[in-house]
């Protein structure tokens, strides 16, 4: 019984107007839910903070740096290996002279940065595996506010969402407002 009350459940409310969605987020905050529990879904990107939500964190910018470092390391290995395996002194310059290898390092660094950025976008999109509840009306322009709440706090979340006048309120079992077309 205690385990059941610890488990989190999700509610998804759909709003016609952005102001209603912002109102819902504010009410959820007032009810004690923090930004980690709230997810906003929309078919159009709204400016960050438009609904009163906090700063959304992602790690995408770490990927190019990691990729660039790996790419540069591969570039160094490539050029040093090639030059050392066939050591020809040209114009009295060192076997591995930086001006002569800079383009290989640039190429390796850029390749690593691009590949890791692409992987980073895929990674950031895959994990976590999206939101649990969804509704196709979000892609029709309605705004979804999803909240994860422990069983005992579920009524508080439902009240906060309902007070902002949603057109529908969904749980895993279906619509809590008995509106047609829900998933």
């Amino acid at each position: 019984m205690a385990m059941q009350s610890q488990a989190k459940r999700e509610l998804l409310a759909l709003y016609e107007e952005p102001d209603q969605a912002a109102d819902a987020v504010e009410r959820l905050h007032s009810a004690g839910f923090d930004d980690n529990d709230i997810e906003i879904l929309s078919s159009t990107p709204y400016p960050e903070g438009a609904f009163g939500e906090g700063h959304t964190k992602h790690r995408l910018f770490a990927f190019p740096f990691a990729g660039a470092a790996c790419g540069m390391a591969v570039g160094i290995a490539w050029i040093v290996g090639a030059q050392v395996s066939l050591p020809i002194i040209t114009g009295g310059k060192p076997i591995v002279a930086v001006p002569a290898i800079i383009q290989i390092l640039y190429e390796g660094t850029l390749l690593g940065a691009v590949l890791f950025t692409v992987l980073g976008v895929l990674f950031e999109s895959r994990l976590p595996d999206g939101v649990g509840l969804y509704d196709d009306r979000i892609s029709e322009g309605y705004i979804g506010i999803s909240v994860m709440a422990r069983e005992r706090r579920l009524p508080d979340a439902q009240i906060a969402l309902e007070e902002a006048s949603p057109i529908d309120l969904l749980s895993k079992e279906g619509s809590l407002m008995h509106a047609p077309g829900t998933t």
Binding site: E16, E39, I40, L41, S42, S43, T44, P45, Y46, P47, E48, A50, E53, T56, H58, L60, F61, P64, W78, I79, G81, A82, Q83, L86, I88, T90, A97, A100, I101, Q103, I104, Y106, E107, L110, L111, A113, V114, L115, T117, V118, G120, V121, L122, E124, S125, R126, D129, G130, V131, Y134, D135, D136, I138, S139, E140, G141, Y142, T183
Partner: protein, 449 residues
């Protein structure tokens, strides 16, 4: 101030405006002609592969086409990046058009392979690679171009996902890998933020790759094959004139879309011409700046080997393509673009853009035919000026066919992927409003991120 098209300001958010891909049919004469040119391009390419593999002179005009693609189609996506970076809302209807040019850019890789295979050994001639032989120049150049093309495709794909994914139920029904390809799209605030960050990061890498590829290819396919041609400015000249032509081809495409696509055309107008026109004037002036910087050094220094190389590309051997370049890429465009009326009219600036694109073709002829057709690329100076290498019938067919193929691939891509960036346009409509200010009207623009 040139007003944006009214349709762009009144986009619906609910139901959200969803752009469509171009509707094309082979029954349309223009599309049928493009398809025929595309087939011609493929056929002539295969003929060249079979009959001219390893024959450098035979790949001289294909090299012109390669550098033409790298300076038009491959340069165009930079407009999408630059306008995102500078938060230029005027470019919203053009961003996808510009990004779509990443698809025909792929043809450059198809051209690069046989061209690189025809190059002579690096020993005994000027080279960017000094004594490095582990894959240079074939592998290094191919890898650099592959990085650029991959970045362009990633930029196009990521920016198109919100328009292509459809409702969440469709994405959820997809298999694991397909869902990954669609970025598991649901429209969460985090996904939107990652998408915007990815567009900016990849755009910056695209710019870095673009400049790098121009540096490598202008050297390996140009300067290192024509003894005496030593210019640190030429790679920059190539990249900057590429941007000039990239802007021109985007404007030209915009004008054609307004003419032939009623759906996309209602968002495209003189606002785009006025904004891109200013950059086009700057790029046109840059043509002269870089040409003159290069020319003046050699004219003053009077080193015989460098003067001979300049005589090939400018003064004697390829004087006709040079003259055409000067007129079509600089003199005429500048003379026309200084007039507001030309710069602020999409129809008129499209005409100027067409001139620039044609001029670019002659520019690439004067720079790349002589090195590729040069029988003795070794040493540090030419013993005598080479005779001009004019195209034969197959070369003419190749140039026409392959450029036709490039356009056909663009049109095909535009028939599969929406030609407008729906989510950015909807956001733009949300953040840009017309307001009355005293006795006039002004546009209030929000730039939140």
């Amino acid at each position: 101030m040139i007003a944006p098209e009214a349709a762009g300001l009144k986009l619906s958010l609910r139901p959200p405006y969803r752009p469509q891909a171009l509707s094309i049919s082979l029954n349309h004469a223009g599309i049928a002609l493009l398809a025929a040119l595309g087939v011609l391009g493929i056929v002539v390419y295969v003929i060249k592969l079979i009959t001219a593999w390893g024959d450098r002179a035979e790949w001289a005009y294909p090299t012109v086409v390669l550098m033409f693609i790298l300076s038009t189609a491959t340069a165009a996506p930079l407009i999408a990046y630059a306008s995102r970076m500078a938060k230029g809302y005027w470019a919203l209807p053009l961003r996808r058009v510009a990004a779509l040019y990443a698809v025909p850019s792929l043809l450059s890789f198809v051209l690069l392979i046989p061209i690189m295979a025809s190059l002579p050994p690096l020993d005994g001639r000027s080279t960017l690679w000094f004594e490095f032989r582990a894959g240079a120049p074939f592998l290094t150049d191919a890898l650099a171009l592959a990085i650029l093309l991959l970045t362009g495709m990633a930029l196009l794909w990521f920016s198109a996902v919100p328009d292509l994914a459809g409702p969440p139920s469709r994405v959820r029904a997809m298999g694991r890998w397909q869902r990954l390809l669609y970025l598991n799209w649901a429209g969460t605030a985090r996904q939107w933020k990652v998408l915007r960050a990815a567009n900016l990061a990849l755009g910056a890498f695209y710019l870095m790759g673009y400049a790098f590829v121009h540096m490598l290819l202008t050297t390996d396919l140009g300067q290192s094959l024509l003894p005496g041609w030593r210019s640190g400015i030429f790679p920059v000249y190539s990249a900057v004139t590429g941007i000039q032509a990239g802007i021109a081809i985007t404007l030209l495409t915009a004008a054609l879309m307004r003419r032939f696509s009623p759906e996309a055309g209602r968002f495209i107008g003189d606002e785009q011409a006025a904004a891109l026109g200013k950059i086009l004037v700057a790029a046109t002036l840059m043509w002269f700046y870089f040409f003159w910087s290069d020319f003046l050094l050699i004219w003053y220094a009077r080193l015989p080997s460098e003067v001979a190389a300049m005589q090939v590309t400018v003064a004697i051997t390829y004087i006709l393509p040079f003259a055409l370049t000067g007129v079509l890429m600089f003199a005429l465009p500048l003379a026309l673009l200084i007039f507001n009326r030309v710069r602020q009219s999409l129809s008129l600036i499209a005409g100027v853009s067409a001139m620039i694109v044609v001029g670019l073709l002659f520019d690439r002829i004067r720079f790349f035919v002589a090195p590729m057709a040069n029988p003795s690329p070794f040493g540090h100076a030419m013993t005598e000026l080479p005779a001009p290498y004019w195209p034969n019938a197959l070369d003419v067919l190749f140039v026409i066919g392959f450029i036709g193929l490039m356009i056909a691939v663009f049109v095909y891509a535009a028939s599969r992927i929406p030609v407008l960036n729906g989510w950015e346009m909807r956001q733009g409509a949300m953040l840009r409003k017309e307001r009355t200010f005293m006795k006039t009207h002004v546009y209030v623009i929000g730039k939140p991120d």
